[in-house]
């Protein structure tokens, strides 16, 4: 199922960084972990030593209250405050430095992708220098390897969060506000991401895929996505197209090149070119597609798509048509 030349889908993990952003996040994670571990061990040691010393004093019969004389208390408080401040400053400094390195946009004009988070799928619009070159797809993002990509994040409904752990940290999609995040994939591969901010009933099944591929392959993919849908030539596909246009599908879905232009649901112009459907919930196979069309509520209860009762021949024709939309 995966194209040759790509690594298999990586373990979706912060600790397997494949890009400079994720690498910095990983480094920060290890730094925090190490520092915390050291501080923890020191604290445990100090605690053990204090308890041990008290026990020894007790055994020796000294009065314990004499041990808590004022000068020692002040010194202790001063040391603790100083140590805390130093560590705080260290963390602040590191945070600022990491923040600075994560946020700036590289000087040359990066590929810009407008990502809009809906309940519960991702709308991906590729901005182009000319209006005509723009196109829209859903749930699957292709980027060229080794080049910085700028994401503009928007949401029309609730707060979502864009998280592809292998490539970058989380960034929220906040209604009424456009956020930006940039990242870069250094290795070709298939990366899984998901929504990282609870956004409703199917937040758990709101995944996406980022495919990082060589520039030439990316151009090929982008050129294909700019084209309108392939014309339905054979009778079964034509019938499927008719089913699509005369039934409930046109109320929510768009297929460029037909009269279907509704943006309520994902754009289906090149549905057959995607690896998964339903925001990464199901593989893009005929059977899964059939199950999804007929009863999406069984797979993702509460999702916006209603069940559709179709006659068997109509469903068959519709599936043939949808699978022809490469």
């Amino acid at each position: 199922m995966l194209q040759g030349g790509l690594r298999g889908a990586l373990n979706q993990s912060v600790l397997e960084a494949s890009g400079p952003q994720a690498a910095k996040v990983e480094k920060l994670w290890w730094f925090a972990f190490t520092t915390a571990a050291i501080v923890y061990l020191l604290t445990m040691a100090a605690l053990w030593w204090a308890a041990h010393r008290a026990r020894r004093r007790e055994l020796r019969g000294e009065r314990l209250d004499e041990a808590y004389a004022e000068p020692r208390m002040t010194r202790g408080v001063t040391w603790a405050t100083a140590a805390t401040l130093v560590i705080l400053l260290l963390f602040l400094g590191t945070d600022l430095l990491v923040g600075r390195t994560l946020s700036p946009i590289p000087k040359k004009q990066p590929l810009t992708i407008e990502l809009t988070g809906h309940q519960w799928w991702w709308e991906v619009a590729y901005a182009d220098s000319s209006a005509h070159g723009r196109f829209t797809t859903a749930n699957e993002i292709h980027i060229p390897v080794g080049e910085p990509v700028l994401f503009l994040l928007q949401s029309p409904d609730v707060i979502h969060s864009f998280w592809v752990p292998n490539l970058a940290g989380k960034k929220d999609l906040i209604p009424g506000y456009t956020q930006s995040v940039w990242f870069q994939a250094d290795t070709a591969g298939l990366y899984r991401g998901q929504c990282a901010e609870f956004c409703g009933l199917q937040h758990a099944k709101m995944a996406l895929q980022v495919v990082a591929e060589p520039r030439t392959k990316y151009e090929e993919w982008a050129t294909n996505q700019q084209k309108p849908a392939a014309n339905a030539t054979d009778p079964v596909s034509s019938r499927g197209r008719e089913v699509f246009l005369t039934g409930t599908c046109v109320m929510c879905h768009a297929i460029e090149g037909t009269s279907a232009g509704s943006h309520a649901g994902p754009d289906l112009t090149h549905l057959a070119s995607r690896r998964t459907i339903a925001a990464g919930t199901l593989p893009n196979t005929r059977g899964a597609l059939a199950g999804w069309i007929v009863d999406p509520q069984r797979i993702k209860p509460g999702t916006r798509m209603p069940p559709n009762q179709l006659k068997p021949q109509d469903l068959d024709a519709l599936l043939t048509y949808l699978q022809s939309l490469k």
């Binding site: 002040t74 408080v77 405050t81 401040l85 901005a127 209006a131 005509h132 723009r134 029309p156 090149g257």
Partner: protein, 630 residues
């Protein structure tokens, strides 16, 4: 904090440590806030029309070559130049106060009457809004009885896809036939004497949201018509039909590749921003031009010497601009075409990538102006975006573009490159409410046509003074349903009055005088050689004012608000008559014509909010009024 007691030194040291620590925390927590502060942009100073100058100056005047006055009114504009000027002189500022109602006629339809009656061969023809009944009235008999009526019986479902009331802007007379459009996309030719249908051609489809409301223009045996539907994702076009047979001769689309827009070897855009190949396709994302709007529902004018037809195209669809990136050519543009073949000779897009429904369909009145020592063949076009454009009608070059209302959405029109310098703060976005957008979506002036008097040299512009708040929403294209994507709420502009009649000096580029009205002046104007201007108000006053200085002369209260185009003609008895339709409606009067509920401020695309007091001021109606001196 407790004060330090007997063990003072220790306590004080504790307190000191605490205080230092707190100060450090405060300082550290304030640092990120400093970084988060943004600099607020300075608000743009709004544009306003220059203060009114002295009444009609003795300076240079625009002129028009006038046809001989025959006392008729054969098409809504009266003449191809669009000046709506009558050379009849019986009614003057001295005697206008004596005007009396001569007779009236009920159309039996109670929707918005935007049309004028037309008068040819002592017969008056009245075309109603849907169901588009055409009446012929015999002016030679007392009381002008009905000769015949013709009912095209348009499909009733067409009412559901008409954006702004089921209006019709009038019929035209040509070669013994009365030609008009029906709401359900038919062009009809009826014999002017007998009322029998000569031909009826279907040119559009209501199932994609297409309707027709404009008045056709007949030029050299061709009937030129355009469609409506920019609010339903309908692709705009201008079609020519043969006057004798009704056969379709050519179609010029407003969007799409050059072959569809009929941009060929003769085409030369004056400004570089309008030059390029297939701009009607490349300035849209993907295939959005197919549902892009650019309809032709406004006024067409014609220059017989240059053999050019001038018209404007409407707004791009949807209203939500983020869904259609690019300049969106050729919407909100002025186009000049050769009527024989339909090919475009020049075009100028006054509002690229329109943000506020600033259609470009307003009239382009043809004048000759003395400009910087030369006489230029010009056109004057008061646009929705708030500027009066004075342009060379042979090439599309801008001579001047001055504001005639209060504008916050743009700073100016740059005459060197033709661009509209917009204010970025006023761009609507999904989920964000942008306030004080002036002019509001109906523009500083909507469809209501102006008139020009060669005697005073002034253009009499009826218009409105409205501002609005806009909030973008995602629009879904479902064929035959609205494709808008905007919540709008309108209200009166500065001054609190919602309507104005401006007497505009085309050469000076500023008003000579203005009259303010409570409601938008949604009716047309007519001006006579007797120096009287007639117009109507939405609360039902038909008014006459002095064309030289705006002094009120006479007014008459009719049964329902006036949104129609007044005309004047010579009756069979030699007297001068003035006629106007009364019957409120249209987009501005939808709250009355449609019985809308003003609790919802977004009703009627936001207009209901600005017209909450209209139902108290007028009722629905449908009556023709004719006035004359006793």
């Amino acid at each position: 904090m407790a004060r330090c007691g007997p063990e003072a030194s220790y306590c004080r040291r504790q307190a000191l440590t605490f205080v230092t620590g707190m100060r450090l925390v405060v300082v550290l927590s304030v640092l990120p806030l400093a970084a988060a502060c943004t600099r607020e942009g300075k608000p743009e100073p709004p544009r306003e029309a220059a203060a009114a100058a002295l009444p009609a100056s003795a300076g240079p005047r625009a002129s028009v070559a006038l046809d001989a006055e025959d006392g008729q009114w054969a098409m809504p504009m009266k003449s191809y130049s669009g000046i709506r000027y009558s050379q009849l002189t019986e009614i003057t500022p001295a005697n206008a106060k004596n005007l009396k109602a001569a007779w009236t006629f009920s159309t039996s339809v109670m929707r918005g009457h935007e049309e004028p009656p037309i008068v040819v061969n002592n017969t008056m023809y009245v075309l109603t809004p849907y169901p588009n009944i055409l009446y012929a009235l015999d002016l030679t008999l007392p009381g002008a009885p009905k000769k015949w009526q013709y009912e095209p019986k348009p499909q009733s479902e067409a009412q559901g896809v008409a954006c702004c009331d089921v209006v019709n802007r009038g019929p035209s007379f040509a070669d013994g036939k009365i030609v008009f459009n029906t709401l359900d996309d038919h062009v009809v030719a009826v014999d002017a004497n007998t009322g029998k249908e000569v031909w009826k051609t279907k040119v559009g489809d209501i199932n994609i949201g297409e309707t027709m409301t404009m008045a056709p223009l007949v030029v050299k045996g061709k009937v030129l018509v355009g469609n409506s539907g920019g609010e339903l994702g309908v692709r705009g076009w201008l079609k020519a039909l043969d006057l004798a047979s009704g056969k379709l001769l050519w179609t010029a689309y407003s969007t799409g590749p050059d072959s569809d827009v009929k941009i060929g070897s003769r085409f030369k855009a004056y400004y570089p921003k309008d030059r390029g190949k297939d701009l009607g396709e490349t300035t849209w994302q993907g295939e959005q031009w197919k549902i892009g709007g650019g309809n032709v529902w406004g006024w067409l004018t014609y220059d017989p010497q240059a053999n050019l037809v001038y018209y404007g195209t409407a707004n791009p669809g949807p209203w939500n601009p983020d869904q259609r990136p690019g300049d969106n050519k050729w919407t909100s543009a002025i186009i000049a075409r050769d009527p024989d073949t339909g090919e475009a000779v020049w075009a100028y897009q006054q509002t690229p990538h329109d943000l506020h429904d600033y259609d470009g369909v307003n009239e382009s009145v043809l004048l000759d102006v003395p400009w910087k020592g030369q006489t230029r063949k010009a056109l004057i076009h008061p646009d929705r975006n708030g500027y009066v454009y004075l342009m060379d009608r042979m090439t599309g070059e801008l001579l001047s573009a001055e504001p005639f209302g209060y504008i916050t959405t743009s700073r100016r029109v740059n005459l060197s490159n033709g661009s509209l310098e917009e204010v970025p703060d006023k761009k609507p976005e999904v989920g964000k409410v942008v306030r004080m957008i002036c002019p509001a979506s109906p523009g500083t002036k909507d469809w209501q046509p102006s008139s020009f008097s060669p005697r005073t040299g002034l253009l009499y512009i009826p218009h409105q003074n409205l501002c609005e708040d806009e909030e973008g929403v995602e629009a879904n294209y479902i064929a035959g349903t609205p494709y808008v994507g905007m919540n709008v709420r309108m209200y009166a502009g500065p001054g609190g009055h919602r309507g104005e009649l401006t007497a505009w000096d085309p050469i000076a580029g500023r008003p000579a005088w203005k009259i303010t009205e409570k409601f938008p002046v949604w009716s047309g104007t007519v001006v006579t050689a007797g120096d009287v201007v007639f117009y109507g108000t939405m609360d039902g006053w038909f008014k006459a004012v002095d064309a030289r200085n705006g002094a009120p002369l006479w007014q008459y209260k009719v049964g329902s608000g006036i949104i129609g185009q007044p005309i004047t003609y010579r009756g069979p008895d030699g007297k001068q008559y003035v006629a106007v339709m009364s019957g409120v409606g249209g987009w501005a009067g939808a709250i009355v014509a449609g019985g809308l509920d003003p609790q919802d401020s977004t009703a009627a695309l936001g207009f209901a909010a600005a017209m909450k007091d209209l139902p108290d001021a007028t009722q629905k109606g449908g009556t023709l009024y004719v006035f004359s001196l006793p």
